[in-house]
C-alpha cells in the first residue's frame, strides 16, 4: 500500500458519525462534534471465500449488550462494509443526545459483534475549516426521531417525529469516495449553509468546498440551507447523486464542484414530502444498475439508474416528479450499505427491534 500519511496513535474520536471505506480498506470515520474526519487503518485482512448474507437478529439489543448500556442508549450513526473482509462496521452513539460517546462495532460475515479498538492504530485526521459554530443560532430539522428534542408534530394528517437541532449537529451528514478524493456533505458556517467539501487523501491540508443550491420540488423554490442527507458516487465517479429531506434526488457533476462556488444541482426526482432519506445505494441486477432510497416514512424505493441521464431538471412546484420509482415490500429499512454489487446490507426496524439483514438483488 502506498504511504497514506497515517501515524500510529489513538484517534480521539469525540462523536459517532457517518462511516465510509476507502477502496484500500482505510476507514473514514466522521466526528461530527469535532467537525473532523479520521482515516483509520483497521487492519482487517481476512478475505472470505465468497460473499454470503450477513444477518444479525436483535441488532440493537446485541450492540447494547456489547457496549454495556440499555437498548435506548444505542443509536447507529453510520454503517459501511469493508471492501475485502466484507465485515460490516457500525458507528454507534453510546448514551443520549449531543453528549453521547462514540464506539465502532465490527460485525463479521458470520454475524459476530466485536468492538473496534482504537488504541495504537495507524490513523490520520483532517479538520474541516468551515463548520457551523456550536452556538450558531441556526437550526436543522431532523424527522428521523433521533434528536433528543423530538416531539410528535401533526401536519396534513401525518404525524412526524420532529426534532430541531443546532446546525452544528449536521456538520457532516454523509461521505462518498469519488474520483480519488473524499467528499464530505453537511452544513457550514456560511450564509449558504448546504456544503459539499472535497478533501484530498492522503490528508495534506487541501480542502475545497462548494455551497450547494437545489430546486426543491415540494417546497417550490431554490434552496441553499438544507443539507444533503445521503450521497453516492454515480456515473463512474463523474458525478454524485444526493438526496435531501422531503425528498428530492439531485445530480451534481463533479466537474461543477468549483471551490468557493455556489453550485446548482440538477433535481432529477421528487420522492415525496414529510420524509427524511436515510440511505442511498446503487446495485446491479441482470446487467442493469438500480438505486435504492430508504427513508423515515416512505417505503423502500427502487429507481432504474439509466433514467437519470435523460432526466430534464425539475423546476416546477409539485409536478412533475421525475425519475420512475417503484415502492418495494421491505418495510422498516433504515441504514444501507453495499456488501457487494448484488447484495445490500440493511438495518431493518421491526416493531421496537432492529435487525441486520442482507437483501439480494433478486429480491429487490
Amino acid at each position: 500500500m502506498p504511504d497514506l500519511g497515517l501515524k500510529t496513535g489513538t484517534p480521539d474520536l469525540q462523536s459517532a458519525g457517518p462511516l465510509l471505506f476507502h477502496p484500500d480498506g482505510i476507514l473514514f470515520a466522521a466526528d461530527v462534534r469535532a467537525a473532523a474526519v479520521f482515516a483509520v487503518d483497521v487492519t482487517d485482512a481476512t478475505v472470505p471465500d465468497s460473499v454470503g448474507a450477513v444477518d444479525v437478529e436483535h441488532l440493537d439489543a446485541r450492540t447494547a449488550s456489547l457496549l454495556g448500556v440499555d437498548r435506548a442508549d444505542v443509536l447507529v450513526r453510520g454503517m459501511a462494509v469493508h471492501p475485502s473482509s466484507r465485515a460490516v462496521y457500525l458507528s454507534v452513539a453510546r448514551g443520549r443526545g449531543a453528549e453521547a460517546a462514540p464506539a465502532l462495532v465490527r460485525i463479521s460475515p458470520a454475524g459476530e459483534l466485536t468492538l473496534v479498538e482504537l488504541e495504537d492504530v495507524p490513523f490520520a485526521r483532517v479538520a474541516l475549516d468551515d463548520p457551523p459554530s456550536l452556538d450558531d443560532e441556526r437550526q436543522d430539522t431532523w424527522i428521523d426521531g433521533t434528536a433528543e428534542t423530538t416531539q410528535p408534530f401533526e401536519y396534513a394528517g401525518i404525524t412526524l417525529q420532529l426534532g430541531r437541532v443546532p446546525l452544528a449537529r449536521s456538520t457532516i451528514t454523509d461521505m462518498a469516495w469519488v474520483d480519488g478524493a473524499l467528499l464530505v456533505a453537511g452544513t457550514s458556517n456560511a450564509e449558504f449553509t448546504s456544503r459539499l467539501r472535497r478533501i484530498a487523501f492522503p490528508f495534506d491540508g487541501a480542502l475545497q468546498a462548494s455551497s450547494l443550491e437545489i430546486y426543491h420540488v415540494d417546497h417550490g423554490k431554490y434552496e441553499t440551507a438544507s443539507p444533503i442527507r445521503a450521497l453516492i458516487p454515480f456515473d463512474g465517479g463523474r458525478s454524485v447523486l444526493a438526496t435531501y429531506t422531503c425528498t428530492p434526488v439531485v445530480h451534481f457533476a463533479v466537474s461543477d464542484l468549483v471551490p468557493g462556488a455556489l453550485v446548482r444541482g440538477r433535481t432529477v426526482a421528487e420522492l415525496g414530502p414529510m420524509n427524511q432519506p436515510l440511505g442511498l445505494v446503487s446495485y446491479d441486477h441482470d446487467g442493469q444498475e438500480f438505486l435504492l432510497v430508504s427513508g423515515t416514512r416512505h417505503p423502500l424505493l427502487k429507481i432504474p439508474a439509466a433514467s437519470v441521464a435523460g432526466q430534464e431538471p425539475l423546476t416546477e412546484h409539485l409536478e412533475p416528479v421525475g425519475l420512475p420509482r417503484e415502492a418495494l415490500d421491505h418495510s422498516g429499512v433504515t441504514w444501507m450499505a453495499n456488501l457487494d454489487r448484488t447484495n445490500v446490507v440493511v438495518i431493518q426496524r421491526e416493531g421496537s427491534d432492529t435487525h441486520l439483514r442482507t437483501l439480494q438483488a433478486a429480491s429487490l
Binding site: 437478529e57 436483535h58 439489543a61 446485541r62 450492540t63 447494547a64 449488550s65 456489547l66 457496549l67 454495556g68 448500556v69 440499555d70 437498548r71 442508549d73 453510546r94 448514551g95 443526545g97 449531543a98 453528549e99 460517546a101 464506539a103 459483534l113 466485536t114 468492538l115 456550536l134 452556538d135 443560532e137 437550526q139 434528536a147 433528543e148 428534542t149 416531539q151 426534532g163 430541531r164 437541532v165 443546532p166 427491534d353
Partner: protein, 375 residues
C-alpha cells in the same frame, strides 16, 4: 455470591464478583487461573437479556481480585442501569447451551448535593428595550442540556408568567462548556407585521417591568439541582430600531508609554458576549495588541488594558460588523427594519475601523475608509 461496585481513586468503576458462590459458578479446574475461568461468565446489561436470546458479553477485562474476580468494562457502567452476571451453560464440556443469569446489581443513579449556581445574568442593565432580543444566564458549572425547559421564564410587573415570550427552548443554546445559556425572545413577535407579532404583540409590550426567573430545579451536568434559583428585574423602555454606530462612540486612546486603559463608551448598552468578541485593537498592519478587554456592568463601557506599556501608534480599533445591541440591531443592519427609512438600509461592511487622532478622539469618517494617524 456477592456483587459489589468498586470505585478506584481514578479510572473506571469495576464490578467485583466474590463470595462463597463463586467457586460453584466456575469450573473447579485447579489448573485454570481465575481469569482463565472468567471466560465462563460474562456481564451484560439486564435489559439486553430481556430482549435477545443471544448473549453478547459487555466489552471489558476480567482480572483476579483476591479470591474474587474483577470486571472492568471498556466503557463506564451507566448510572441507573441494571447489570447481570451470566454463566455459560456448558460446564459439562458439551456444546454451548446458552447462558443463565446468576445475579444482578443496579448501578445507582447519580445523586449529589447541589453545587452549581447562577453567576451572571446578561445584560447587566437596569433597563431593556421593549424589543429586547436575547438574555443569557451563566452558571458556575457545566449544566445538563435540556434542563432549562420549564425552568426559565419571564414574569411581568405583576409577577405573572409572560407566555410564549421566550423562543421555544429546544434546542437550547449552550456554549461549548455548557455554562452559558442564551435565551432568545420570540423573534416572530418582535418583528412588526409578522403573524405572531400582530396576533400576540411584542413580548414585552404590555408590561413596564420584566423579571427573568431561573428555577433552582435546573440540573447541572451530574444531575443535581442548583444551590439556589436566580432572578433579575429590568424596567422596559421604548424599542430601539437603529444600527449600532461606532462613529458615535467616545474613544479615549491612551498616551504612548503609559499604562492607561483604552476606553470606549457606547451610545447604548450592547450585547455582552458580542462586545467582547467583536472589538479588537491592532496596529496598522492588523497585528493584535496583546492585552485583555472587559465590559463594565451596564454594558456601555468597554476597556482594554494592554499587557505592556502602551506602544507608539498608530493603533486601530476594529469593530466586527456583527456586533449587536440588546435588540439585535447590528453595525450592519437594523433587526426589524422599516423598508421606507433610508437610514435603515443595511451597511454592507464586514468591519468598521476607528483610528486614533492627534487629540485622542475617534476619527469621524462618515463611512469613508478610516484615516490612520499616529497619536
Amino acid at each position: 455470591m456477592d456483587l459489589v461496585w468498586d470505585q478506584p481513586g481514578t479510572g473506571t468503576t469495576a464490578l467485583v464478583v466474590a463470595g462463597p458462590g463463586l467457586a460453584d459458578l466456575l469450573d473447579a479446574d485447579p489448573l485454570a487461573t481465575r481469569a482463565e475461568q472468567a471466560g465462563r461468565i460474562a456481564v451484560v446489561p439486564a435489559g439486553a437479556l430481556d430482549t435477545s436470546e443471544a448473549v453478547v458479553p459487555t466489552a471489558g477485562v476480567w482480572s483476579t481480585d483476591g479470591d474474587g474476580l474483577r470486571f472492568t468494562p471498556r466503557f463506564p457502567f451507566q448510572a441507573g442501569t441494571t447489570y447481570a452476571v451470566v454463566r455459560r451453560e456448558d460446564a459439562a464440556g458439551r456444546a454451548a447451551l446458552g447462558w443463565a443469569e446468576v445475579a444482578r446489581l443496579v448501578r445507582p443513579a447519580t445523586t449529589t448535593l447541589p453545587t452549581a449556581s447562577v453567576v451572571a445574568i446578561h445584560p447587566r442593565t437596569s433597563e431593556v428595550p421593549e424589543n429586547l432580543l436575547r438574555l443569557s444566564v451563566t452558571f458556575s458549572a457545566s449544566m445538563d442540556e435540556g434542563s432549562a425547559a420549564g425552568h426559565v421564564h419571564l414574569e411581568d410587573a405583576d409577577g405573572r408568567d409572560i407566555p410564549h415570550a421566550l423562543l421555544a427552548m429546544p434546542p437550547e443554546l449552550w456554549d461549548r462548556p455548557r455554562r452559558r445559556l442564551t435565551l432568545l425572545l420570540e423573534p416572530g413577535r418582535i418583528k412588526r407585521g409578522l403573524v405572531p407579532n400582530t396576533a400576540l404583540g411584542a413580548p414585552l409590550s404590555h408590561t413596564s417591568e420584566i423579571t427573568l426567573v431561573v428555577d433552582a430545579e435546573m440540573r447541572d451536568a451530574v444531575g443535581s439541582d442548583l444551590v439556589t434559583g436566580a432572578r433579575q428585574t429590568y424596567r422596559v423602555t421604548p424599542a430601539v430600531r437603529e444600527r449600532v454606530d461606532p462613529y458615535r462612540w467616545q474613544v479615549a486612546w491612551p498616551t504612548a508609554g503609559s499604562h492607561e486603559v483604552l476606553t470606549v463608551e457606547f451610545v447604548r448598552p450592547l450585547d455582552h458576549a458580542l462586545a467582547l468578541a467583536c472589538l479588537r485593537v491592532t496596529n496598522a498592519d492588523g497585528v493584535p495588541l496583546p492585552g485583555h478587554a472587559t465590559l463594565d456592568p451596564g454594558e456601555v463601557r468597554w476597556s482594554f488594558t494592554a499587557s505592556d506599556p502602551w506602544p507608539v501608534g498608530p493603533w486601530l480599533l476594529r469593530v466586527d460588523a456583527a456586533l449587536e445591541d440588546l435588540a439585535g440591531n447590528s453595525v450592519r443592519r437594523v433587526f426589524d427594519r422599516d423598508l421606507r427609512l433610508a437610514q435603515d438600509d443595511p451597511l454592507l461592511v464586514n468591519e468598521v475601523v476607528l483610528g486614533s487622532d492627534d487629540d485622542g478622539s475617534p476619527v469621524n469618517a462618515d463611512w469613508r475608509p478610516v484615516r490612520r494617524t499616529s497619536p
